[in-house]
């Protein structure tokens, strides 16, 4: 399979070596995200998940190493890498429709085409009828659906999501996990999206991913890469399967020894 995102020996340090606040956030991290693959970065707080995602997004530079998207080295943020944030990052002065068409308008698509694509994606995340609402008029879950629609409508090469459901209540979260899979799935002749997803929930990582990159902190390193064999589409039955619980237990027991009390 073609490699979509190549992360090659990426190291990131904050502060100079020997400084009091020196942090080795990422230590020689390498892996590849294949085309159409859903990979989660899983690990305790401070293991460098966000840092890695931000380097892929182009918000930050790696101290050493390279990130390639479709073989091209990343130099700064761009529309080929769509980002979904924990705090939604919807433009508060724009309606849902204006938010979702933001990237499309930049591409100079005709107005009608922008709106058609936006409507399609707003409906896809279950927000049909809310096009003219402002973010402050929506619940947290609805805001994250809008943000998801905005990123996917822009049709990036890869979707980057940094704990998008961390601020969502547990009941809505389960529904939104399925929503995310649905939105990223192949449809209308479009191939499945490639997704790099950050979470610290083991269950969430298993439910969503094809592979899970388990990371450990201080310094941020990859502990292991776990394949998730469960068939798609995944649903509530997937969560209840004994294999699901067993995999969760295995990942927890490998991680546990690396989580220091502090």
């Amino acid at each position: 399979m073609a490699v979509k995102v190549g992360i090659e020996r990426v190291t990131k340090q904050y502060g100079g070596e020997g400084d009091a606040h020196f942090v080795l956030a990422l230590d020689d991290v390498s892996f590849a995200l294949d085309d159409g693959e859903f990979v989660s970065l899983l690990g305790p707080s401070g293991c460098g998940k966000s840092t890695l995602l931000h380097i892929v997004a182009g918000f930050e530079d790696a101290t050493q190493g390279t990130v390639r998207v479709n073989g091209k080295p990343v130099a700064g943020p761009g529309a080929d890498r769509g980002m979904v944030f924990q705090d939604y990052a919807l433009f508060p002065w724009m309606t849902v429709m204006q938010n979702v068409t933001f990237g499309l308008r930049i591409k100079n698509l005709p107005q009608r085409e922008c709106e058609r694509i936006a409507r399609e994606h707003i409906a896809l995340v279950g927000l049909a009828g809310f096009e003219n609402r402002f973010p402050h008029q929506l619940s947290g879950g609805m805001r994250q659906r809008s943000a998801l629609a905005r990123s996917v409508a822009n049709n990036p090469e890869v979707l980057l999501m940094d704990e998008p459901l961390a601020a969502i209540d547990a009941l809505t979260r389960n529904a939104l996990q399925e929503e995310i899979l649905k939105v990223c799935d192949a449809r209308d002749g479009r191939p499945r999206k490639s997704v790099l997803y950050v979470t610290h929930s083991i269950e969430e990582a298993i439910f969503l991913s094809d592979r899970i990159v388990v990371m450990t902190p201080r310094p941020g390193r990859i502990l292991e890469v776990v394949g998730v064999p469960f068939a798609r589409p995944r649903n509530d039955a997937t969560r209840l399967a004994p294999e699901f619980q067993q995999l969760a237990g295995e990942i927890w027991s490998t991680l546990k020894s690396h989580i220091k009390p502090n």
């Binding site: 997004a57 700064g76 943020p77 769509g82 980002m83 944030f85 919807l90 508060p92 933001f102 990237g103």
Partner: protein
């Protein structure tokens, strides 16, 4: 039970609001009037409310109050238009381009602590007594309020909004016009409101010294005539006008930036 209690508290919250607002001023006015009539204090220093009221009537009917008010207002308008058109673009560039800010910042930081009133002698030397000096003093005080709030506004634009925009393919132009600019507007409004407030403070002082019209002049003129009732009318006018203008700006802000006000609730 619960709904009844709730509607009860709604009533309690709503009906007496007007009452709550006026009760203290009314008590003060009544005691003041009684005190003055019983000559507990010298009415030259503090005339009774009834005298102030008739003085206000007199100033209003003769058109004098309005004339001075119009002069002050015109100067404030000119000063703020100039301050906004210089400070907003300057603040925007200073907020956006750090090297630019560093070059200008040291200079501004020395000018900023100088009270606007300390500029009066120089203003009179440069522009003479009258309109220009007063506008200049007012301009200086408004300028810094707007500049600092513009810079803070640009800096304070939510970082994840900027990142979201860049990840959606925003060019620099789109980023500045569609993200940074609207993101700065709440701070700009705060700047305008503060500027208007300090404008009234400094214009009165400037008119006391450097002008022969305006509310500040009116107050100092009646001091010479020992007309404390007319002085108080001038003072109260400034208070009321300042309050109304601030409310007007607040209303405008809620109209233009509904998303912001709601977010704060």
């Amino acid at each position: 039970m619960a709904p009844v209690a709730r509607s009860g508290s709604a009533l309690r919250g709503k009906l007496p609001r007007a009452f709550r607002l006026v009760v203290l001023p009314v008590i003060v006015l009544v005691l003041w009037e009684i005190g003055a009539r019983m000559e507990l204090f010298n009415p030259i220093f503090l005339p009774p409310p009834s005298r102030i009221f008739s003085a206000a009537q007199q100033l209003l009917l003769s058109g004098e109050l309005f004339r001075h008010f119009a002069d002050s207002l015109r100067r404030i308008a000119i000063a703020n238009v100039i301050a906004i058109s210089v400070a907003v673009p300057l603040g925007f560039f200073m907020g956006l381009y750090r090297p630019f800010e560093e070059v200008i910042d040291g200079f501004l930081n020395i000018l900023r602590p100088i009270p606007p009133l300390a500029w009066i002698p120089l203003a009179i030397l440069w522009f003479g007594l009258g309109e220009k000096s007063v506008v200049f003093i007012t301009l200086i005080s408004a300028f810094f309020a707007i500049l600092l709030n513009t810079i803070a506004g640009v800096r304070g634009v939510d970082k994840s909004l900027v990142r979201a925009a860049l990840s959606l393919g925003a060019t620099r132009r789109v980023l500045i016009l569609q993200v940074v600019l609207p993101g700065t507007l709440p701070s700009l409004f705060t700047g305008f409101r503060i500027a208007l407030g300090v404008s009234w403070m400094s214009i009165v002082a400037a008119e006391l010294i450097a002008s022969s019209s305006g509310l500040g002049f009116m107050i100092s003129y009646y001091r010479e005539l020992l007309r404390s009732d007319l002085i108080l009318v001038g003072m109260l006018s400034i208070g009321i006008i300042g309050f109304l203008m601030d409310r007007g700006l607040l209303w405008l802000e809620q109209r233009l930036l509904p998303w912001r006000v709601r977010l704060e609730l």
